[in-house]
């Protein structure tokens, strides 16, 4: 009943299969266990024969996969690494609300949709905890307009999306952050939250439908790690 390719896809490891068929992945497991998934993904092209129907989600390949590799390189071997990838494009907006009265066009309703396409959390080798979250917020303006000649009523809408990149690095207990020698760039904001354990938050925002690039996400990560004394230290010399 099933085609040969579909049988092969059904026989993939469950995480890989969910990623292909459900366009989503959410799991926490040890760093070593992620290698099973990555080894399976390395064979994806051979299994599916490059069929677009069974292609891996774009955000996973372009962003989550390199990001997972970077996290695994610094993760503690005995602590789980959590990853959430959601490529379902079900645009479910919240209730439409009228724009403020002072807006230049009356009768426009605004609605928001919030998605979390990628989220990851890990405990690192130095005892700190890292959390990365990419939030996609889409604004939809809807309004009704009537043709001046035909008097037809039409419903119009316009979408605009932006992505929030949120990185939180919680330092180990008793470790104080170190102020970097140069200020952070103006396109990202950094906050150091004191408490039981210091937490460094680095956030930025990008506009557009496109997912932020890996390098941009890594730059935000780097900004958080610049405050970590362990990350600034040189590896033990030979």
């Amino acid at each position: 009943m099933f085609s040969a390719t579909k049988k092969k896809v059904q026989a993939l490891p469950p995480l890989h299969r969910d990623l292909v068929l459900e366009r989503t992945l959410g799991y926490a497991q040890l760093p070593h266990d992620w290698e099973y998934l990555l080894a399976s993904i390395a064979q994806h092209q051979a299994v599916t024969g490059g069929k677009r129907k069974y292609a891996l989600p774009g955000p996973f390949l372009a962003v989550a996969l390199p990001l997972l590799r970077v996290i695994l390189a610094d993760a503690r071997p005995e602590a789980p690494v959590a990853l959430l990838v959601d490529d379902r494009l079900d645009l479910v907006f919240g209730p439409g609300m009228p724009l403020p009265d002072h807006h230049h066009r009356r009768g426009i309703k605004i609605a928001w949709m919030v998605q979390i396409p990628i989220q990851a959390e890990a405990r690192l080798r130095d005892g700190s905890r890292l959390r990365i979250r990419i939030v996609r917020r889409t604004r939809r303006l809807t309004w009704r307009q009537r043709g001046s000649v035909s008097h037809k009523t039409k419903f119009k809408s316009k979408d605009k999306a932006y992505h929030l990149l949120q990185v939180a690095l919680r330092l180990p207990r008793g470790v104080e952050p170190v102020r970097p020698p140069t200020p952070s760039p103006n396109w990202l904001s950094v906050a150091v939250n004191p408490g039981d354990r210091y937490e460094i938050r680095a956030d930025t925002k990008t506009t557009g439908d496109e997912m932020p690039s890996v390098n941009l996400i890594l730059h935000v990560l780097t900004e958080a790690f610049r405050w970590s004394p362990t990350a600034r230290a040189t590896a033990v010399p030979r």
Partner: protein, 178 residues
């Protein structure tokens, strides 16, 4: 998420098959003791003498030394490399840094991709964030040995490069120098 799998998948999303490189699966003896990821807490570290350990610098943001047993030698720089960090490249077995230096690249599904991408990224990030410390977190060997056109490069020299050709006191030899 586990509830949707058949009973034999309940505890591991990968079943009881061996790992990608024949490593023990979940619940099997030896699980969790994987090269390149160190040892779980509470277990004794393997006693690998320093002169026999892998010499590759691990980590992306948190740099450290690989503690695995060196099983081979990089054909370009002469460093000892463990089974995880040994990559087949032009001219034989290479370490991840020399693999990039030879003009090769791998996909993120490859285990050493982060180490291959690390050098290029740190150079970019150092310029973008205007913080030379991102680059200077490398030790002296890693900073200069693999800098193409700086006396390192592919196919020239060996492990003796660091000791013989480089002045220990000269700190002005970096990518941020004009």
């Amino acid at each position: 998420m586990s509830g949707q799998y058949p009973p034999d998948w309940e505890h591991s999303p990968h079943g009881s098959e061996p790992g990608p490189s024949g490593q023990p699966a979940y619940g099997q003896p030896g699980y969790g003791q994987q090269p390149g990821y160190g040892q779980p807490s509470g277990q004794p570290e393997p006693a690998v003498p320093a002169e026999q350990a892998c010499q590759v610098t691990t980590g992306f943001y948190l740099l450290s030394r690989c503690t695995s047993f060196g099983v081979d030698q990089c054909a370009n720089c002469g460093r000892r490399v463990c089974a995880l960090h040994a990559i087949s490249g032009p001219g034989g077995v290479l370490c991840p840094e020399c693999f990039v230096l030879a003009g090769q690249h791998s996909e993120p599904t490859d285990r050493s991709w982060a180490l291959q991408y690390r050098r290029r990224y740190r150079e970019d990030a150092g310029r973008e964030l205007q913080d030379p410390g991102i680059w200077w977190a490398f030790d002296r060997y890693d900073r200069y040995r693999f800098a193409a056109g700086r006396g390192g490069g592919f196919g020239g020299g060996g492990a003796h490069y660091y000791a013989a050709d480089y002045d220990e006191d000269d700190d002005s030899y970096g990518i941020f120098d004009s």
